[in-house]
C-alpha cells in the first residue's frame, strides 16, 4: 500500500499500519490489515449497516470512515465487545441474548446489529420495542429476522441490573 503511516486504537490496543492511502476506509484496514473480519462489507455505501463499529462510543459506518481520519479515536469492533482476558468462548450479554433468542440466521448482519444494540444498551432504562427498532433502523437484515432480533435486545435491556 502507498500512503502514510497511521496508528489506530482498536478494541483498546494501539495498532500501527506502515502505509495507508488517503482513500482507504477504516473497514478495509480492520479487515485486511488487522484481520478483524467481524465488520462486513455489504454495500460499501453506508446503507446496509454490516460494517458498523463504534468510534468514541457512537455507532458509525466504517465503510464511510477514512482510516487516516480515525487516528486518536477509540474504535470498537464486534471482536471488542467481550472484555480482553475473558475466557475463550465468553459472550457479552447482548451476544448471549441474540444467541439464546435464535436471532441469528446467516449472521452477515449480526456484527453490525450487535454494535448498534450494544450502544443502545448503554442507556440504563429498559428499552421499548419502538426504541430498539429506531436504534437498529440503520442495520438491514436480508434474512429478515427483525422480530427475534428486537425481542432479544429488549430482553437484554430488561436483564440489566
Amino acid at each position: 500500500m502507498t500512503g502514510e503511516p497511521v496508528t489506530l486504537r482498536v478494541n483498546g490496543a494501539e495498532r500501527p499500519v506502515a502505509a495507508v492511502a488517503p482513500w482507504t476506509t477504516l473497514l478495509t484496514v480492520l479487515r485486511d490489515e488487522f484481520g478483524l473480519t467481524g465488520a462486513k462489507r455489504g454495500c460499501n455505501q453506508g446503507v446496509c449497516g454490516a460494517c458498523t463499529v463504534t468510534i468514541d462510543g457512537e455507532p458509525v459506518r466504517s465503510c464511510l470512515s477514512l482510516a487516516l481520519n480515525c487516528a486518536d479515536r477509540d474504535i470498537v469492533t464486534v471482536e471488542g465487545l467481550v472484555p480482553a482476558g475473558a475466557p475463550a468462548g465468553a459472550l457479552a450479554p447482548v451476544q448471549q441474548a441474540l444467541a439464546e433468542g435464535n436471532a441469528v440466521q446467516c449472521g452477515f448482519c449480526t456484527p453490525g446489529i450487535l454494535i448498534s444494540a450494544h450502544a443502545l444498551l448503554r442507556r440504563n432504562a429498559p428499552l421499548t420495542v419502538d426504541e430498539v427498532r429506531a436504534g437498529l433502523s440503520g442495520n438491514l437484515c436480508r434474512c429478515s429476522g427483525y422480530k427475534k432480533i428486537v425481542e432479544a435486545v429488549v430482553s437484554a435491556s430488561e436483564a440489566r441490573p
Partner: protein, 284 residues
C-alpha cells in the same frame, strides 16, 4: 491523492485553494462517492480538527449559529433552538438512521445539496443564512440564494461553509418538518418545512418550503406576504398550495414519479398547516 488535517479555519481555507481540493466532513456522501469511483479529489481537507466548526451557540437576541461540522444527531438534540427554529431539529432527527446521523454534518449536507435532502427546506423556512469563508474573506448568503440548482450551490471553488445562522424566531411561532419517505430513514419523496405564527385567527408569520419537488426547495414568499394579517382557512391554504405547485419541477425517480410528487406535496402542505394551527390553538 493527498490527505491533510488542518486545525484552524485559516489553514483550512489555505489548504482548499489547490486545484481539486475538497473538504472532508462526515464522509457520509463523499466517501460513498469515492468508494463508487465517482470522485477522486486531489486533496482531502479533513475538517475534524477545526474546533470552531463544531460549536453551536445561541446569542442574547435568540440568533443561533450552528457550526458546519455539527452532526445531525447533535442538531436533532440542540437545546439552543426555540419556537419556529425547531423546524431544523425536527428535520435533523428524520435524516437517515442513527449511525449516519452520528457522522453526517449540516455543512456537508448543504454543500452537497441533494434535492431530496432534509436541511435545505428547513433552512429556507427558518430564513437561515450561510456564513461562507474563502481566500477573499467572509460573506453571508441567505438560504434562498444558496441552493441554486440540482446539486448546485452558491459556494465558489475554495470556499468553506463556516456556519449556518438561524435568526430568532418570533415568539410563539411553531416550526415543523414533515417528510414522506418509502421507509423511515430514506430520502424524501416530498417534504414540508414550515414556521407559523398566529394571533388568534390572524396569521402573523408564515414560511413554507417544500423539498424534493424540484432542483432546490420551493417557497412562495409573494403569496405568504399576501396571507399575513388574514385568516388561514381552506381558501387561503389553497392559494398557497396552488402557487407552490406552479413552481414545482419534480423528477421521476426510484422513490416516486413526478406526477405523484405533484399530487402529494400540496396535500402535505395543507395537512402540515392545519396541524400547526391546531398545535398553536392548544398551547395556552
Amino acid at each position: 491523492m493527498e490527505f491533510v488535517r488542518p486545525d484552524s479555519i485559516e489553514a483550512t481555507v489555505a489548504a482548499l485553494q489547490a486545484d481539486g481540493a475538497a473538504c472532508l466532513a462526515g464522509g457520509a456522501t463523499l466517501v460513498a462517492m469515492m468508494n463508487a469511483d465517482l470522485v477522486a479529489p486531489h486533496r482531502l481537507v479533513s475538517l475534524r480538527d477545526v474546533a470552531a466548526l463544531r460549536e453551536a451557540a445561541r446569542q442574547p437576541d435568540g440568533t443561533v449559529v450552528v457550526g458546519a461540522m455539527r452532526r445531525h444527531r447533535e442538531t436533532a438534540e440542540e437545546t439552543d433552538l426555540r419556537d419556529g427554529q425547531l423546524v431544523l431539529s425536527e428535520a435533523a432527527a428524520q435524516i437517515a438512521n442513527p449511525p449516519v446521523r452520528n457522522m453526517g454534518t449540516i455543512g456537508g449536507s448543504c454543500a452537497f445539496a441533494d434535492p431530496a435532502a432534509d436541511y435545505p427546506p428547513a433552512l429556507l423556512a427558518a430564513d437561515a443564512r450561510f456564513s461562507l469563508i474563502g481566500a477573499e474573506g467572509r460573506r453571508t448568503v441567505p438560504a434562498g440564494d444558496f441552493f441554486l440548482d440540482w446539486y448546485e450551490t452558491a459556494l465558489e471553488p475554495g470556499e468553506l461553509i463556516e456556519s449556518v445562522v438561524l435568526p430568532p424566531a418570533p415568539a410563539r411561532t411553531v416550526g415543523s418538518y414533515t417528510k414522506l419517505a418509502r421507509v423511515a430513514g430514506d430520502f424524501a419523496i416530498a417534504s414540508v418545512a414550515l414556521v407559523l405564527g398566529m394571533d388568534g385567527r390572524a396569521c402573523i408569520h408564515l414560511a413554507v418550503a417544500v423539498g424534493a419537488c424540484g432542483p432546490a426547495p420551493v417557497r412562495r414568499r409573494d403569496v405568504e406576504a399576501d396571507l399575513i394579517g388574514g385568516g388561514l382557512g381552506d381558501t387561503e391554504i389553497r392559494r398557497l398550495t396552488d402557487a407552490l405547485a406552479e413552481a414545482f419541477d419534480p423528477v421521476d425517480d426510484v422513490r416516486a414519479s413526478a406526477d405523484y410528487r405533484r399530487r402529494v406535496a400540496p396535500r402535505m402542505v395543507r395537512q402540515a398547516l392545519v396541524e400547526a394551527q391546531q398545535r398553536i390553538s392548544e398551547t395556552p
